[in-house]
Symmetry: D2
Subunit: 251 residues, 4 copies
């Protein structure tokens, strides 16, 4: 008999949290046992029999939430940013005493963004040129996006592994900065346009050809398949996994 | 009986000039009567009975070439950049004494680029956001391209005619300049990628929608339909025309 | 003193109608005086002092609604499909007796779609090849979309006005129909993809170059600027206007 | 001391062959020892000390050329189409007696097309919808392209491995075939446009998101990096390898 996985959502009143609550409720193989907002007692999750905790709270709270989940013997799926190496090391140490327990910390649950980044790292080995254009709504406060910065790093790592040097660029005159930001040696452009949500285009060029990888997020619901994948897989991936790609079959 | 138009090409040894010589030779309604390179005597064109002179030389020579063509009573189609208002005024004055004679000075003979720029000016009236991405091979020396600058000016003019204010942009943090150049209030991004030739993408955004205009020049031959259009139409457009769009039916 | 325009919405309970009610309420220069659903009495609009009626009902009701609006001396902005020549002629006859009264019947209120279609008609004169790709969500029942069919007709008309013959196509073997539908001589492709809403890409090709026009509708709200434009302009365009482009400055 | 690889090109007078001759001549680590056209004696390659033979002839000749190369103890890099299972089995058998000898048979040497196909197979596991648009010049005789058919097969295989069923499509009315060809359950569209060379766009859609992979071949030279990769790697891949991806690091 197949039994469902018991899930508690922390940060259930936020936008991402509410979407996760809805997605878990809709999934036939999952059971929502607790939806915990700011001010609620997270021990509800334990009393309700949760097996997996989804943390969609805020950077200030997430480290303590994961510490607590490990103590209580709950698998954790975490979609909060702001984790540094110290914090990750603490999680690894705590998990070392809890064999069988899994924690997934994923800065980006959009499966398409994860795929695009992985593909970019592979393709980077084979192209003389690479460049990134990220496009978002005009209310975004920072440029370029964190995803674009991660993608630039992935491309730089792919190029290094293939022994490629700097990208070719004979620009002599660029008085207004049209060539954009340079992140890890890769030019990154940020477009802000009313009507857009979150989009990334990764361009690779070689003699006589171009390869383009593009990911469009039209709606926050696009993160939910990644969250559900995390919930379903966390118990079979003991220890700490950083990045949703650790749970995906990418080759 | 339909007779062909007699054409002389100045700058025939350059890359654009050679392409024009070839295109004129291929056109059944045109006759190449002189192909004049650096050091050749341009009076050959007169002796050979040219009706239209195509000037594809260099900025240093073009002003004198047009002066000469008008004196000789030849229509002129000019694809050289570097014309300022003074130089244009001189042409207008000279043509005032030569009713029936036509001169076309066109910075860009790519019909698609001309169309994209015109469409951009019209669309600009109806969208809250507008942004430009130009893409070229990495050996280009300047950024952004002249075409992108002209397009930004066209968009700014369209926005002004509709009473639109600045484009929305709440960016607070952009430490590396990912938002690109700002030309006439419009953000312009320059991509440099091996394998590309000359490409421009013009993006318009409004609530819930996006309009994209894109022009790709894969090869210098793409300028030739515009050159031929100029040759065929110059005699029926007396006076000075600046920009190929003056000969096109754009509405 | 600037006074606002009094607006009544028919079909206010439908999805488009509800969006229009909201958009009118948000617009500072418009005043919603009646929101009339199925079964409500449309005379409410008259009693409330409406100057403009927006009809977003269904094909079965729209003809009678417009007849009624003209009788009551109300300008009408109509976003319902299914109008044939007979029905339009009846509107023209009724308006002949009502100088100063305006009716706008627009099959598509997306300004971007209207712009793309107009631009397509102009560009069609200058390109040897033209093709259309429309992309929608997979729950759409018909292929290709009505917008794509209209665009094909606009391209065909542009080509005819320039004396262009059939598009070049040397395909000899296409056993599975990959070349798509042929509408007015133009190949049209329909893509159906989960996550999409309504998108159209219009491709023009000539020797060495390509021109692409693309319109993306991400959300029904993208129709509202067109509805508001219609409401604001209908009183200054007496008689019948078919198509939102009649109110736009497109050249 | 690093010595160069001695290369012979069969089919050197064809367009691909001539490009390969040029590319080998330009590569500092390769030495062209024989360029053999139709009617020339291929034994020249042996006499000139070739280590690797590149076969860019025609389907009628390639099978015999590979048989001969194996007999002579030459590694072979083959870019000719038309290999069936029987022919491949014969190569495997012949190579079984020649340990250390390598043969690469690659239907497509465009690295970008190979990458796009591999990425498509991986991404296919994660998306409800997938569709292909291939775009070529209008002189192409068949539709859809072989690359598009192979991509459809790769997507179908990825979907099967993830247990995905048919793509969603509620189309009820498509009188003119706008939904295109269906290859291995995947809809494939073929666009033919003057000015294009060879382009493929692979679209994946899920709730709220889209992933696009696009490859543009602007010029035949884009195949050369793949040919050179094959020449450099064939000696370290004994036995038969089908597809350039067998020599690439794709994960």
């Amino acid at each position: 008999m197949s039994t469902s996985i018991a899930v508690a959502v922390l940060g259930a009143a936020g936008r991402m949290g509410a979407a996760a609550v809805h997605a878990v409720e809709q999934a036939p193989d999952l059971e929502l046992v607790a939806a915990i907002g700011r001010g609620d007692d997270r021990e509800q999750a334990v009393r309700a029999g949760a097996q997996v905790v989804v943390d969609l709270t805020v950077p200030d709270a997430t480290r303590d939430n994961v510490r607590w989940a490990i103590e209580r013997g709950l698998h954790a799926v975490v979609g909060v940013t702001g984790w540094d190496e110290d914090a990750l090391a603490e999680v690894r140490d705590a998990l070392a005493e809890r064999p069988g327990l899994g924690v997934l910390i994923a800065p980006n649950f959009a499966i398409g963004a994860v795929l695009a980044m992985r593909f970019a790292q592979v393709a980077a080995r084979y192209y003389e040129s690479a460049e990134i254009i990220e496009m978002h709504h005009p209310d975004k406060l920072d440029a370029p996006s964190g995803t674009a910065r991660h993608t630039a790093a992935a491309i730089a790592s792919g190029r290094a592994s293939a022994g490629l040097g700097p990208v070719p660029d004979r620009t002599r005159s660029d008085p207004d900065g049209a060539r954009g930001a340079v992140v890890d040696g890769i030019h990154v452009h940020a477009v802000r346009l009313r009507g857009l949500v979150a989009h990334e285009e990764i361009l690779f060029g070689g003699v006589g050809e171009e390869l383009t990888l593009r990911h469009d997020s039209f709606d926050r619901v696009s993160f939910m398949p990644g969250v559900l994948l995390g919930i379903r897989e966390v118990a079979s991936h003991p220890g700490l996994t950083v990045g949703l790609d650790g749970y995906m079959e990418l080759d």
